[in-house]
Amino acid sequence: MTMSPTTKPPAESLTLTIDGKDVSCRSGQTILDVARENDIDIPTLCQLDGLTTWGGCRLCLVEIAGSSKLFASCATQCTEGMNITTQSDRLLNYRRMILEMLFSERNHICAVCVSNGHCELQSMAQKLGVTHIHLPYRYPKLTVDSSQDRFRLDHNRCILCSRCVRVCGEIEGAHTKDLKGRGIKTFVINDLDQPWADAKSCTTCGKCVHVCPVGALTERGTAVSEMAKRRAFLPYLTSMREH
């Protein structure tokens, strides 16, 4: 995990090329930051301004001239003279493949999901032209934690982006949420893998619910398509901390 580049002292200025466009930045900035400053869109799912970098979803992969490897632009700092490509057939192919794996890994039934129409996975699939899933679906039997009065955790929809874990630890300071297990057996947990209602450290602030990009963390009592997330608090709290 790298610290947010904004916490590092400003340093020398660099020039580089992104998608054929000459751009400049300060050393320490990530490729993703600089691309966004220059209105170059790189798709992301786990990244959220105000939270530390995770680098887990791999959607933001880019090509850098001179290397055959792909780099996660959220976690790669710019260097002088870098020549970066953010859009290519190869990258689009990988990005679609990542989305397809997310759809096939757990159970996403958009038509009956509370987040239908407000979901970042769903809209990213549309944006990147995913029309169907080439991989066979796994249909794992997963649980839904409805023990808590106000919120619900539905593992069927979780994409393991860890935004909830980060906002809970870094912004709320409670660290109720974490991830257990590895690979396909990774799950979001509350405290020591307890039912949410028994997790004493939870302040029921709801920040995790509102940063969750999909229908995994939701407010109870929402029906299909009703779970629109509210994120205004995050840039607000971040700027309060910085100033």
Partner: protein, 203 residues
């Protein structure tokens, strides 16, 4: 959305690319709720435009007993769930030039695939015995699963492309009528539709 929602008979998109004989279009309803066909009917007055341009040779609204040969485009609603669906899907593929998965059930499995967590027998027991509306008597508990009129089911409901080759995907639950019209228009014009411009999963 880039396609126009109001289309007239002089729409150039509908004139181009059509062979002298009218293309033969079929629509089929497998394991779905018929919502996609309702959306198809929501083409409203555009159905008349379509009727001039194509022959609907098979559809729940046409109802021939057998799937006809030499179909140019077949729109398939629903997941592949029963043995009957499976056989039908293979027949459709053998007899159609272009097969389109219409709606989320055909494209992803969607709601019909929510049964996939249980064995077929558990599912049938739940549907036909436990949830049946008659008193909970010893007879009910001993009741047998239906053997007539319920085709044998596959272990899981699957999206169409896991069974046969699918050429076009039209996600949505149901896909909006505009999206269906856009796909048909593009097909008739001999172009390949950019489908995610007009619809998505769960739309």
């Amino acid at each position: 959305m880039t396609q126009s929602t109001t289309t007239t008979r002089s729409d150039p998109a509908l004139r181009g690319g059509i062979t002298p004989a009218k293309p033969r279009v079929a629509t089929v309803w497998l394991d779905g709720c018929s919502g996609c066909h309702m959306s198809f009917l929501d083409l409203d007055e555009r159905l008349f435009i379509l009727a001039e341009k194509v022959d609907i040779v098979c559809s729940p609204v046409v109802d021939p007993k057998e799937f006809p040969p030499d179909v140019d485009l077949c729109l398939v609603e629903g997941a592949v769930s029963s043995h009957h669906d499976l056989e039908k899907a293979k027949l459709i593929r053998a007899r159609s030039k272009v097969v389109a998965a219409l709606g989320d059930c055909a494209v992803t499995g969607n709601v019909p695939a929510m049964r996939n967590f249980w064995e077929v027998e558990e599912l049938f027991r739940r549907a036909y015995i436990e949830n049946a509306e008659y008193p909970d008597t010893p007879e009910k508990r001993k009741a047998n699963l239906p053997v007539l009129n319920v085709p044998p089911h596959e272990r899981i409901a699957r999206p169409l492309h896991e069974i046969i080759k699918v050429d076009l995907f039209i996600p949505g639950c149901p896909p909006p009528a505009d999206a269906i019209f856009y796909v048909l228009t593009e097909f008739l014009a001999g172009r390949s539709p950019n489908i995610t411009q007009v619809t998505r999963f769960g739309k």
